[in-house]
């Protein structure tokens, strides 16, 4: 990293739907770059120094919680771990994630979407005995490799990048979308979940489900946690097409 200071130009989408008469627009802010600066630092800088009304969401600021996804120069990604130094021309254009309810400026309501998704795919272990498990006894064994594989899929942080990166989802609002597929893949892999393929078909066996996915692979290419969307959606599709 060089010591020379740059002036970064942030072009930021501004719109507050709560405010009467407000209209969507792009506003440019200039920020002096610091070494190791992330978009998280820069946006806070703008809010504190220039415009206290600027809305955005950060929680962990460490790329862990999935709060801060936005479209950075055309890529849906986690803003908190995006270093400003990666943009050679110092021009950074920020848009809120498309496909979600806009709260204001760069803040979108991913939480509401994700809860609905979880309810739709019934994102929990289906085992009628789960609540009767005797927790004084040894836990049920699990193959160490299976546990690792489940964790691979469980790493999703519900950031919504895959949802915004999917043109199918944007054209068809009811489309389950990749984050839902990842969740389903996770549970169908889990031996503790007693759902059968037929049960899963009820959730995703239609054109709003896995058969609606047109394999655009935006999900795969923009997932900040590198989840294996392509192989897993293919796996689900093969599984579902075989359901009698």
């Amino acid at each position: 990293m060089s010591d020379q200071e740059r002036i970064l130009k942030f072009q930021i989408f501004r719109y507050n739907p709560q405010k009467k008469g407000d209209k969507p627009r792009m506003v440019t802010y200039e920020v002096k770059e610091a070494v190791g600066m992330t978009i998280f630092i820069a946006l806070n800088d703008i809010r504190e120094q220039q415009d206290p009304s600027l809305q955005f969401d950060f929680v962990c600021r460490a790329g862990i919680c999935g709060s801060c996804a936005m479209v950075v120069n055309g890529s849906p990604t986690l803003a908190c771990r995006t270093m400003t130094s990666t943009f050679k021309d110092g021009l950074i254009k920020l848009l809120p994630l498309p496909g979600f309810e806009l709260i204001g400026d760069l803040s979108v309501n991913t939480g509401k979407f994700m809860r609905a998704m979880s309810e739709r795919v019934e994102s929990w272990i289906h085992d009628r005995n789960a609540d009767k498990v005797n927790f004084e006894k040894l836990e049920e064994r699990m193959d160490p490799d299976v546990a690792d594989e489940i964790y691979e899929l469980e790493r999703c942080v519900e950031c919504g990048c895959c949802v915004s990166a999917c043109a199918t989802k944007r054209m068809r609002p009811d489309f389950l979308s990749a984050v839902g597929f990842m969740r389903l893949a996770r549970f169908s892999l889990d031996p503790r979940d007693k759902r059968s393929d037929e049960d899963f078909y009820e959730i995703m066996g239609d054109d709003d489900g896995v058969f609606g996915c047109m394999t655009l692979l935006g999900c795969e290419d923009y997932c900040p946690k590198d989840l294996p969307h392509q192989t897993q959606i293919a796996y689900l599709r093969r599984k579902m097409v075989l359901v009698k």
Partner: protein, 656 residues
């Protein structure tokens, strides 16, 4: 006026809050969870390293049980913890983890046969038992005698929180997101819910409940550099404090984690050292064995943090534009291990430092990490002074951790406290009718409305962002790892001034709906108050205990200070909180105070210590046939709910 009624109101959607909500819902009480952010984004998700529970499935955990866990926890707390609570905790932790297993957490499992691990800088082969194959594995963590920290790679908190929230969703527990509790409603010494602001619309609402649980996490953001999330601002503690009735306990007990990356303060988990990582100085020299020949890098967190600072003060730190740091070396663990078990660490290094931790050292420095202090509760989780107010998780001072908590004991606490406190919350709901008067609700509502109106109409005044930065700087510089009278007195004075200035905040963006500046303006005065509790408590405590380390009083002083700090703020117009103390009764301790085994023992002992030791010997002699369960009951009978009384099974020894 929008009023929402429920039985059990839980403020906080992290691990602790959700678990309490699940407990009260399971018992059939109407439950609502409030959260600033979607529950799955709560700070619990950031816990990487693991959860302590004495399952003892790996060979290195062989022989582990409740007794060993108990000893580690009490010693780790520097005898500051509540031993009843520690007892309930260690007995319930195995149950908690097994329940979470049934709910879906994909814990890393034991794989039978040989595997290579790094211990004390060397590669060693250990052989896992065949019978243990497929059981929950565990790793080494600081301050523990056994490998007890169960984990899922280094995304433990994430997987725990996801399973917990999924369970809550399954049960249909409503989580009202983007809602901030800004005041508690109380009448006649009983709490009845909270005044809540919708962070999107700005609307104020009253959530009226029989039992109110605060599970709002820690207050790391009172410090300039912290591993905590940006929402860990101690608002839950503040609203309890502002009742003037509820007390905060041990607020000066603030933990610094030895290894957060420089400069941003993002944590690299203790798992790095647990798995064999080393700390090196500017000469690439491993210095910890010089200070702590016994536990080396894996001494308790407070100890390691202080040793690092000591070493840096000797000029051995690596100079950088952000001040000195030292190196964390995990290259010796090998790429395969890092990519499998320390993935998040790898990602963090790549994205925030631009380095490959399998090849390069990580620049780290001790950084604010955990708040042992919080809302003081009884062992049931209920406030000692404000009925109907419960607290759980990092926001509470249930007092499992005393003056220093062990790594991995915190997420374990959230879940265990959630289970236990949740039962008492449900009991409370069963036993108490909701009879709060409409005027009381209205009174609190009006009060908050007025404050917001004042903020929105004041023409000129202080900038909330600036006040916050100043407060954070004071805390960082003067109420940090090493403390002394001079700095602390300065901090107390300066914070007092900030407190006054915070009464005069004016906004540039004057809209009442979603408005980050208004959010800040509501929070900052609260945060300053909490900061004052910490600084003031630290100034008054003239001893060193756990994470509270006074340069001018380096000894632990059981004689005068074996007591818990209690802080209240009865009168808003005074510039300082009121501090009182609660004695810890050695004569009831299962494990009387002793040396923690770090450095020279210069403890000033309490006369009761020897008496209690003798008494314990007597009890043991009088009951020669007593097994460990019987003995525990004799020494430390605990009020644990019936559900969690059973013994825990372990491989190789059954329920023994």
């Amino acid at each position: 006026m929008k009023v929402i009624y429920t039985d059990s109101l839980v403020i906080g959607g992290g691990l602790a809050g959700l678990r309490v909500a699940i407990a009260s819902m399971q018992r059939g009480y109407d439950t609502i969870v409030l959260s600033l952010v979607p529950a799955k984004r709560s700070h619990s998700a950031a816990a990487q390293g693991g959860m302590q529970a004495s399952l003892g499935a790996t060979v290195k955990g062989d022989g582990d049980d409740e007794e060993v866990h108990f000893g580690d926890t009490v010693r780790g707390s520097d005898w500051g913890c509540d031993q009843d609570v520690a007892r309930m905790f260690v007995n319930t932790a195995p149950k908690a983890i097994r329940q979470l297993t049934a709910w879906g957490v994909p814990w890393s499992r034991v794989s039978a046969g040989d595997r290579e691990v790094v211990m004390n800088g060397k590669k060693v082969t250990i052989t896992e038992k065949k019978e243990a194959h497929g059981l929950i594995s565990s790793r080494d963590f600081g301050g523990t005698k056994k490998w007890r920290t169960c984990f899922t790679s280094d995304g433990t908190g994430h997987t725990m929180l996801y399973s917990m929230d999924n369970k809550a969703i399954q049960m249909g527990i409503p989580v009202h997101e983007r809602k901030e509790a800004i005041a508690l409603i109380h009448e006649g010494g009983v709490c009845y819910g909270a005044i809540v602001r919708d962070l999107i619309t700005g609307e104020l609402m009253a959530y009226v409940a029989k039992a109110t649980t605060i599970a709002t996490g820690g207050y790391g953001r009172l410090y300039a550099i912290t591993t905590n999330s940006v929402i860990s601002e101690g608002i839950g503690n503040a609203i309890a404090l502002e009742t003037g009735i509820a007390t905060l306990g041990n607020m000066e007990a603030v933990q610094f984690h030895p290894t957060a990356i420089v400069p941003v303060g993002i944590l690299t988990t203790e798992g790095c050292r647990g798995d064999g990582g080393l700390l090196l100085d500017k000469d690439g020299y491993r210095f910890m064995p010089d200070y702590e020949p016994d536990k080396k890098e894996l001494a308790s967190r407070d100890v390691v943090s202080r040793r690092i600072l000591e070493h840096m003060r000797k000029g051995k730190g690596v100079a950088s534009r952000y001040g000195d740091h030292i190196w964390l070396d995990i290259t010796l663990l090998g790429r395969k291990h890092i990519e499998k078990n320390l993935r998040e660490v790898k990602e963090i290094c790549e994205y925030f430092l631009g380095i490959d931790p399998a090849k390069e050292y990580i620049p780290v420095r001790p950084t604010q990490h955990y708040s042992m202090g919080g809302i003081r509760t009884k062992a049931t989780g209920e406030s000692q002074t404000l009925k109907g107010l419960f607290a759980a998780g990092e926001a509470s001072c249930w007092d499992l951790h005393g003056f220093n908590r062990l790594g991995g004991n915190s997420v374990a606490e959230t879940v265990v406290a959630g289970m236990i406190v949740g039962e008492f919350v449900a009991d409370y709901c069963a036993q108490n009718p909701l009879n709060v008067s409409g005027t009381t609700i209205e009174y609190f509502m009006k009060q908050e409305e007025q404050k917001i109106t004042d903020l929105l109409t004041r023409d000129s005044g202080e900038n909330p962002f600036e006040l916050k930065v100043q407060m954070q700087k004071i805390m960082m510089d003067d109420v940090g790892i090493f403390r002394n009278a001079k700095d602390l007195e300065k901090a107390v004075e300066e914070l007092k001034v900030l407190n006054q200035r915070a009464k005069n905040i004016a906004l540039r963006n004057r809209i009442s709906s979603s408005n980050p500046e208004l959010v800040e303006a509501i929070r900052v005065p609260k945060m300053i108050k909490v900061a004052q509790c910490i600084a003031y408590g630290a100034m008054l405590r003239t001893e060193s205990r756990g994470a509270h380390s006074r340069e001018d009083y380096p000894a632990r002083n059981d004689k005068d200070w074996l007591k818990r700090t209690l802080t209240t703020w009865k009168d808003d117009s005074t510039g300082l909180p009121e501090v009182t103390y609660e004695d810890l009764d050695i004569m009831k301790m299962e494990l009387p105070p002793a040396s923690r085994g770090y450095g020279v023992d210069n403890t000033v002992h309490h006369p009761d210590t020897a008496r209690r030791e003798a008494q314990i010997e007597e009890i043991k002699k009088a009951n020669p046939g007593a097994d460990r369960f019987k003995l525990q009951e004799l020494l430390n009978p605990i009020p644990i709910p019936e559900k969690f009384k059973g013994k825990n099974e372990r491989i190789g020894r059954g329920f023994k």
